[in-house]
Symmetry: C2
Subunit: 173 residues, 2 copies
Amino acid sequence: MKPPSEKSAGRRPSRPSYEPLQPHEIELADFFVRMAGILGVPRSVAEIYALLYVSTGPVDFDHIQGRLGISKGSVSQGLKFLRDHEMILSVKEPGSRRERWQPTPSLAASLVALLRSQVLPALEQAQPGLQRVLADAQARGSQPEVIERLSRLNRWNSRALELAPLLLPPPGA
Amino acid sequence: MKPPSEKSAGRRPSRPSYEPLQPHEIELADFFVRMAGILGVPRSVAEIYALLYVSTGPVDFDHIQGRLGISKGSVSQGLKFLRDHEMILSVKEPGSRRERWQPTPSLAASLVALLRSQVLPALEQAQPGLQRVLADAQARGSQPEVIERLSRLNRWNSRALELAPLLLPPPGA
DNA sequence: GCCTAAGTTCAAAAATTATTGAAACTTCAG
DNA sequence: CTGAAGTTTCAATAATTTTTGAACTTAGGC
């Protein structure tokens, strides 16, 4: 149900109208939005990913904006996020500056990368602090139970940090 | 630097003043706050847990409120959250209505439970929708690549649902 | 080299989420 | 029973996060 005329043939469509998401597309988007929410990824980002995910070929900037009905800024920021986390790839058209986007082959890899990027920095930054907290508790002769808790926390943190690189090698592998 | 007098001996302390968190406690709280943030758990909840975690014995409502400097409402809601997710346990004093709280023995188990409670419902609710999306795509003869993606998503969802109960049995085991 | 399509930036507005605190409820010690 | 300690509730407010859009930058076609 597109607005009447498209000003005849291939004329520059001054405001090409895009179809809103179809029910089946909405359903998928909802799923991604929910999952993303758990990791604190904003709705618009999840929607963009969902759109690329159900789309048959690569999708360009204006289509994303048009079909999702969101602002240029959101599209730009959303694509940046997805790019930074290596969740999407771009294909350049031959005689045009325009980029067209599609999801990275493995969603699994994308998710792991995303998790890493959130959890790792926290673990790394915490390392020295946690050790200090433990040392402190020992120094002041806290209850053995508390010492035990804090030790376990330290061990976990260390093991997580050792395991992390195996889970998915940092950029470049 | 506590407000001058405590009205001498063991008199009912009309507004007992609590020490603010010590540096080592703050350090630990920061760690928990950050980790909690990844899962979208609010700061105040993480702080409460951290306080119980470094404390030598069980801690009561008023101490939590006093030491963290947060409102009654926040403490109540925070404890509710932690209780609901089985991350803390209460010990009742003999001749008093007051409850005192301490962390559940296994933080690991707590975390798994927390994750479950967020992810599982999403997976469950998504199940039928995802199947419909796939069926739809097949019906309309979408690109094989898209079909493949959607199939994989469905398979994952199913496997995750199968695995979930093994990861940690639902309330009662 | 220009000029404009394509995309980015970022301050302000909107939307969402967390916290507060006063009132209401509950439970038990007396 | 009754009173008040102990806790919960929830509407209002505060804090945070997301989205918008207009001004700006950049790249590349001509």
